[in-house]
Symmetry: C2
Subunit: 226 residues, 2 copies
């Protein structure tokens, strides 16, 4: 693909499957790419190490920002080890892995940082398709936030969401088309239990990831055998 | 005034003239009032002490939150002592007291906290009239943020801005009508140089505050002598 935007972009980067795919998407669309990784009191700081390694390999700048104040705002199972991670979502509620306002803070901090380094294009791996009940992954939230950020700083940010309308299988397909399927498969960390690559296999994130991979690989297989 | 809303509210509270006036406005409009004060690497932590004392006197809950990560996002003269505070605003730019995204982060954190304590009404002292060139004090930003917060957390927040369309003289008038003119005059801290009450008298904040007070007092005087 050509660099259709031809400008610099900042990728909100966690070292997981989605944001790593977005990083390589950005590399194929922008002339220069930066990454920013947020710490927010995760139990698995290994995520941050993974992110740094992937950024180094991709040859892009890596900036880490401590946003651990987020953990003090609300109770959730990702940042509070006293809460058991729960797959069952109470009726009319969010999964207890929901960190209220997380993407709001991440994208806002990314925008302030982007403005400092003279970048107006932001890339994030949120997806409405697999949004797991998180309202801050929906397209309407992202678009509203884009307007709010522009008004807050009198700027012209453009938030790109390459995964918004695709599912996990299609995200694997995108990674494959970018030539990084194996890299994403082996070097990223998505697992809630902190195991790199294929992960623990049990947690919701691992199951979603593995189901998507199997679906894509069997589609590719049937395509090749035609 | 009656408590026209009859519900609980959270006031974004700095211990300055504006937010203290808002605190008493909230006390006259809501059945219960909470406050939240943010630290963001201010040179003057005395602000926080002032805020706490005023909240105690008003009999409302006081919550302090450390948001010092904001200081690391951008350079400005309020949080970085290596930059001289500058009154002159470069053409087409912001005053260098501008902390990019400050109100964005404060109101977002306030909303997450409000949701935790079951409160949906937020009160902030931003004013478009005396906005000093800060885009994140304008009405259009606040309204856009209100929608963004609702979408981020699937909630129904209502942001109240009692000072949005009034100037400093009218803010003093509001404080007077709420019976707290002397309290606001003597116990709040607005001065950039950290001096409580009437302040240093030289910095832009002191001059704006004093001009407003004199304007209101002479208006009141002429009203009384009629």
């Amino acid at each position: 693909m050509d660099t259709i935007y031809g400008k610099e972009a900042l990728v909100v980067f966690s070292g997981g499957q989605d944001s790593t795919t977005c990083l390589y998407w950005a590399l194929s669309h922008f002339s220069k790419v930066h990454t920013v990784t947020f710490g927010y009191g995760q139990k698995h700081s290994k995520e941050i190490e993974c992110a740094k390694k992937i950024a180094e390999k991709a040859g892009v700048s890596f900036r880490y920002m401590d946003m651990s104040f987020i953990a003090s705002l609300g109770r959730n199972s990702l940042t509070d080890t006293s809460i058991k991670m729960d797959e069952a979502v109470p009726d009319g509620s969010f999964p207890n892995t929901f960190v209220p306002g997380r993407n709001l803070f991440f994208l806002s901090a990314a925008a302030v940082y982007a403005r400092e380094i003279g970048v107006s294009h932001l890339v994030t791996g949120v997806s409405q398709t697999d949004f797991s009940g998180y309202p801050d992954c929906r397209d309407q939230f992202i678009k509203s936030l884009n307007v709010t950020l522009n008004l807050a700083m009198e700027s012209q940010f453009v938030i790109h969401t390459p995964l918004m309308w695709i599912d996990k299988a299609q995200t694997w397909e995108l990674a494959d088309s970018l030539g990084v399927l194996e890299l994403v498969r082996t070097e990223t960390l998505t697992c809630y239990n902190g195991i790199q690559g294929d992960g623990c296999g049990h947690c919701p994130a691992c199951r979603l990831r593995m189901e998507g991979l199997q679906k894509y690989l069997s589609k590719r297989q049937s395509r090749c055998s035609r």
